[in-house]
Symmetry: C2
Subunit: 298 residues, 2 copies
């Protein structure tokens, strides 16, 4: 008992330390609360035996990180009148032929970084963007903004921002793994095509909208929607014989958003230089996976 | 001192409880460590003045949540020989005409949930998927798997899984906001088309690959890549007169992955019922945004 008495202040001190440590910890936890909060909710929500760590998909509602909400499949089913829908129907042989032709066309598409400075009719770009705008989107929010830059000075500013950031990425931010992968990919941060291409397309996703009453309106699955729209845009470019290279300039989003004075709900998803291929254009001699490697019939 | 002596066992007990609580907490933290670790790394990385909360984009390297890495723009620039690239070039008037025609075609696309049970030639589906496989992808990883289901029993299983989960979503998981939005969208969880459509396409994204040495290979920007591929797939379907409705079945990913025995690196991104439109098909009488609302020329 006497020993215990002597130990009491020590115990009290230890208790204080432990409590202090806990408080620090819980503060730390708070700084990461957004992410962790979601994960905790996730684990609370996951009451089903089949949802374990390995099984969790991004389709888990509880796991969606960046979106404010989720995409219902009723992406265009607004509260409005329904009208009959009867698109053209082709005979089977025509369908097969058309599907083969479209595959042949799209299979010729390549990412090209040697772009000709020749001008491209503005009307073509208009139609390409209109086509991209036909993409489905979560709850028909159409959460995309296309910035088309042909002004040489602005193109050069974009190039400066992109190259500066890319250089920083390569040199400082990335781990060995990143740098090794890049070495293999023979990429560097010089992006001449950003000056040369007649058009630079910057595609922003609108992460939320603003209602007339000033409140935020959730844009379900905005990133997937805008990426689908980009897929259709690539098809439209290929259809007219124009080329591009799909790029997501790391870390440049905020600076480019400021350059174009876009609102805070808009975030850069993609930057596409667009034009004719240069006469000396080359592409890496790559193959695509054969059908059997990408499809399973059941 | 006597009082303290009496309190000693109490203090010891409190200390035990506190330590026990801490251990529990740190275990909890460990289960969320993947997410939290990333966020911590993120805050350490953000040393630039222009990166504040408002300005942070998803293009921020440090903010990528789900990806193991990031998409370089050199998506097809592998360490291999370069070959000349000279796709067909059209006169300007032809380009304008082609761009207009493709826009007209794609502008007729609608999300359709009234699908005819009539069979569709398998060769058409093959070509549509081959076309989707021409999409660009981060570092040319081609991170997509297309499961095509025509077996009625499997289709019915999919429907059961989707409807069960959707009902749970509607009833239990979502907040008022979600339910209100859905009410406006007039959606419910009955998905008859999952039984009726001749084909169900399940599109999985491969979040990482496995190298010959068994190590994981990062799939940069897999979700964006697969979404772009889906955009091209939608264009290919529209081109042959087939319809679908873009859906991301909430929470069904894990169950559907198990149903098809897909590996753990594959996560469901989209589920598309595919077929001819039913003769009585209707679509909501929606408008698309005009060009001026989606484009800014500079």
């Amino acid at each position: 008992m006497a020993v215990l008495s002597i130990l009491t202040p020590v115990l009290a001190a230890v208790l204080c330390l432990v409590i202090g440590f806990m408080l620090m910890r819980s503060q730390q936890t708070e700084t990461t609360s957004t992410t962790q909060g979601k994960t905790e909710r996730a684990s609370k929500g996951d009451f089903r035996p089949w949802v374990d760590e390995d099984l969790q998909d991004d389709t888990e509602v509880t796991e969606k990180e960046d979106e404010d909400g989720d995409w219902v499949d009723s992406n265009e089913e607004e509260d409005c009148q329904h009208v009959p829908y009867s698109p053209p129907r082709y005979p089977e042989e025509t369908m097969v032929e058309k599907s083969r032709d479209f595959y042949t066309l799209m299979n010729q598409r390549r990412s090209v970084r040697f772009i000709s400075p020749e001008p491209v009719p503005r009307e073509v770009i208009d139609n390409v963007i209109l086509t991209a705008g036909t993409a489905p989107s979560g709850a028909h929010t159409e959460p995309w903004t296309f910035i088309v830059v042909s002004d040489p000075e602005t193109k050069h500013k974009i190039r400066q921002i992109v190259e500066e950031e890319e250089e920083v990425n390569y040199r400082q931010r990335m781990g060995d793994k990143w740098v090794n992968d890049l070495a293999r990919l023979k990429t560097n941060w010089i992006k001449e095509y950003l000056d040369i291409a007649p058009y630079l397309l910057l595609i922003f996703k609108q992460t939320y909208g603003i209602l007339p009453n000033g409140k935020k309106k959730t844009h379900y699955y905005n990133e997937i929607s805008v990426s689908i729209s980009c897929g259709i845009l690539l098809a439209a470019l290929q259809n007219v014989g124009l080329v591009t290279v799909t790029s997501t300039p790391l870390n440049c989003g905020p600076q480019l958003r400021l350059l174009f004075r876009r609102p805070v709900n808009e975030k850069l998803l993609m930057l596409l230089p667009v034009g004719y291929p240069a006469s000396e254009a080359t592409v890496p001699d790559l193959a695509r996976k054969p059908l059997d490697d990408i499809v399973v019939y059941i």
